[in-house]
């Protein structure tokens, strides 16, 4: 019997959540006033949770390392948010969103959680519109939708290419209302550096004021971790520079199991890297695949000519292009899920067809969309026999209205005009499906400690569908946690204020202080970034888009060696009692150096290909699906939850067997 209890309620899938809510323990409003909750991270999950918990009457403290909650990296999400509204009347439903998400996740997520997510998705849109989120509308004044990868309906709501920004500003505005009432106290430019446990329960945190360097003790009856994913493990990713795994890793070290660390999303459409100095990668929204067609030249001679500048992509005729996604996956074409699109790009580039100097780029081309829209507009405006130039002009205006800010962003970075020449794109690390293990209540294996949003593992399985991260973050924060946390807190109404002058707080603060002192006094010879870049290279080369046993074993031992070298030779200038970015980074990279090893261990264990985790040893050898990823449900239909035992190499595995009652497990086919 596993020590893991998912606490999924009994009963039919479709009524589980409703029945559960009807019977969950509640805290009366007068008692809520005596209960404190800490929320770490103020993105979509943390921001929405903080606002809702405060509105319910709890006393909330929020923590973020940015100078304002509104700057959390959810803000950078571009394309949209899914919801089963069926406004387009194209056959969408809660069940279909649930089904698409489970299938898209390659059958490695928890059915009951995903169904609940699909169920509350429609409410999110209602809520956000009421808050004043300016979603795109059509001329009749109703909400507009677009399509995303891995689905056959249009269920994605959007606000230009800045959907994450608008949703986060919505959650932030809800926070503002509670800050004004004094129900939320925001601690900005603060970083959580440890969780404090008393009698086995999460009772507070140690946080560092990043401006003064002071360590602070904060107590609470529950601690919510909403600190996002760990994509920066790879150094280069689409995450913000400060995005980190420290909060998640600290709770892991204190008893929260870490689930499926090897499930990483490598997003297919990012701007390719240009040099070693590069600090981060920039995403080009998946929404572009609604209209953009992905291709490389058919002939290797053309590839060479393009690389040497003798030919331009626009010189190649249709016959000379290989629209490889349309060729391989006729049913879904350019809108296959992210993991499939990324591997297909890698396959072409590995075969030598990459179109830039590094050989790691493919084209994303809007020429046929511009022509298609141009012709349609000419018809709408009743223009007879329009010239090619007129069609281009009309079509370009439509593309500009849809994706203008993304095209501008591309042009600023690459210095090429994507209306005139195809964009160059390549996959990059974007999102982590793995994370802290949580039960149906979103509670970790530490009582009173919760994990929501990207920080947990529960909803996306081994691959997340586009526009589902925003949905999950807000679902957890607005609609799930505020209910489920009450079940735990109903037992805390007699606890009273939790003191911070106790041995548990003393000890936690001392260990944080010792670590800071170590870094400041360690007169090493290399910068923190030196180590972070080395770690990133190991991760990308050996734990990237495709993995094999040999590489993963090497990765684990190389990361261990790098970690030892880091502690000997890292150099952190400045002092502890001031704003010190290098000190902040040192702590985060130290945690990445442990998490990376656990990642490799997890990836090695999972001898199957599923979603974003592709093991070269596990592919279909024949038939229509030849060369595609091969899952192994008989042996691996489980969640790998790791328990910390003092060193990543000694982490102990606990399995949560996944049960699928509503959905038949099938080979994921997008052909």
């Amino acid at each position: 019997m596993s020590v893991l209890d998912s606490k999924v309620p009994k009963g039919p899938l479709k009524t589980k959540w409703t029945d559960y809510k009807d019977h969950i323990n509640l805290v009366n409003p007068a008692n809520k006033r005596n209960i404190d909750i800490i929320v770490v991270g103020t993105g979509l999950a943390g921001g929405s949770a903080a606002a809702t918990l405060a509105e319910l009457g709890y006393n909330v403290k929020t923590f973020c390392y940015q100078d304002s909650p509104r700057r959390a990296h959810s803000i950078a999400a571009q394309g949209g948010i899914n919801a089963a509204k069926n406004y387009q009347g194209d056959g969408d439903s809660v069940y279909r969103l649930f089904y698409d998400t489970v299938k898209g996740g390659d059958y490695r997520s928890r059915e009951a959680n995903v169904y609940r997510l699909a169920e509350v998705s429609a409410n999110i849109i209602d809520q956000c519109v009421a808050q004043g989120v300016p979603f795109a509308r059509d001329y009749g004044g109703l909400l507009d939708n677009r399509s995303f990868g891995g689905v056959l309906v249009s269920r994605t709501f959007y606000a230009k290419g800045q959907t994450g920004q608008q949703l986060l500003l919505g959650a932030y505005s809800a926070m503002n209302r509670q800050i004004a009432r004094g129900k939320i106290v925001p601690y900005n430019r603060h970083e959580m550096l440890d969780v404090v446990k008393v009698d086995g329960k999460a009772r507070g945190i140690i946080a560092r004021n990043l401006v003064t360097g002071e360590l602070e003790r904060h107590s609470a009856h529950a601690v919510v971790i909403a600190s996002g994913g760990y994509g920066n493990l790879y150094f280069l990713s689409t995450n913000a520079m400060g995005s980190n795994a420290t909060a998640a890793w600290k709770i892991h070290k204190k008893g929260a199991f870490f689930a499926n660390p090897c499930y990483t999303q490598i997003h297919p459409t990012c701007i390719p890297r240009s040099g070693d100095y590069q600090s981060k990668l920039t995403l080009m929204s998946e929404s572009l695949r609604n209209d953009g067609r992905i291709w490389v030249p058919k002939n290797i001679e053309d590839v060479k000519a393009i690389r040497e500048g003798r030919k331009k992509p626009t010189d190649l005729s249709e016959d000379e292009r290989d629209y490889y996604l349309e060729r391989r996956y006729p049913a879904f074409g350019n809108l296959v899920p992210r993991d499939v699109a990324s591997r297909a790009a890698k396959e072409r580039c590995d075969a030598g067809y990459g179109v830039n100097a590094t050989g790691e780029a493919v084209y994303l081309d809007f020429a046929s969309a511009i022509e298609r829209y141009g012709k349609e507009q000419a018809k709408i405006h009743n223009i007879q026999n329009p010239s090619a130039a007129k069609i281009y002009e009309l079509g370009k205006a439509i593309i500009e209205a849809k994706y203008g800010n993304l095209f501008q962003m591309y042009e600023k970075i690459v210095d090429e005009n994507p209306y005139e020449t195809p964009m160059m794109i390549y996959p990059a690390v974007h999102y982590t499906m793995g994370g802290i293990w949580v039960d149906y209540n979103l509670m970790t294996t530490i009582p009173g400690c919760y994990a929501i949003g990207e920080a947990n593992f529960s909803d996306h399985g081994a691959n997340r569908l586009g526009a589902s991260a925003l949905m999950q973050g807000l679902a957890d924060g607005y609609f799930v946690l505020p209910y489920t946390i009450g079940d735990y807190l109903s037992n805390e109404i007699r606890t009273g204020k939790i003191p911070t002058d106790t041995p548990e707080f003393d000890e936690a603060e001392k260990s944080v202080q010792d670590k800071i002192d170590f870094f400041i006094s360690n007169n090493g010879k290399h910068s923190v970034d030196y180590y972070h870049k080395k770690l990133g290279k190991i991760m990308w080369d050996k734990c990237g888009m495709s993995r094999n046993e040999k590489g993963l074993k090497e990765a684990a031992s190389e990361i261990r060696e790098l970690r030892e070298d880091f502690y000997k030779n890292v150099s952190v200038p400045g002092s502890a009692n001031e704003l010190n970015s290098e000190l902040e980074k040192a702590g985060r990279v130290a945690d990445f150096l442990e998490l990376g090893e656990l990642f490799a261990k997890d990836a090695l264990l999972r001898e199957e290909s599923c979603g974003g985790h592709f093991r070269e040893e596990s592919v279909e050898l024949e038939g229509e699906q030849k060369g595609e990823a091969k899952r192994n449900d008989a042996e691996f239909a489980y969640v790998a939850a790791w328990e910390y035992k003092g060193d990543p190499s000694e982490a102990v595995l606990h399995k949560e067997q996944l049960e699928f009652n509503e959905i038949e497990l099938k080979q994921r086919s997008y052909k």
């Binding site: 004044g141 040099g275 920039t282 995403l283």
Partner: protein, 230 residues
Amino acid sequence: MVDYKVTDISEHMSFLEMMDVLNEQLINKGEEPVAFDHDCREGICGMCSMYINGEAHGPDRGVTTCQLHMRMFKDGDTITIEPFRAKAFPVIKDLVVDRSSFDRIQHAGGYISVNTSGNTQDANAIPISKYAADEAMDAATCIGCGACVASCKNASAMLFVGAKVSQYALLPQGRIEAVDRVKNMVAQMDLEGFGNCTNTGACEIECPKGISLENIARMNREYLSAHIKD
């Protein structure tokens, strides 16, 4: 003021990547790196600031500092970098300033008072004209970086506050509290020590998101009519 010489800079680098290279070179020499704010590095979080050669976010238009590229400069150029300067943005360290005054203005009214309970009406219950929705979106695009304040000779925050007031004023959901909102947000803005608008328009030019001066005019109209109603 400190002079630094930085080498090995490619034209394809972003301005902040150039700063990374400088800091790496300083750390390797045993010196302290230059502190600056940054995070998303794709022009949306609004964390990066810097007043570069006399312009907020530097010489390019429609970009934040993280999107500014070194191809905008010539080899051998001396670049002057200052923090954003305003009484309401005190300097924390080097190029890092405290912009929490912006947050306090939003606490004063930057929201619609609806519960996050999930019991709201259907999202399509109130049709909103595409023009109003698009205009609200244009105002809502503001990233709260503070370039408008840094560019203004009066250190006025009216473009920022105008954008925030406008987003809600343009939507039916926001009309209900429009009167109190504009009064409270403007009062907080004055309390924070921001200056007044004298219609120079530098803010609009330097705004990385192209927030229009119309938002200031709209805020003034809202403010005036709010007080007439008193």
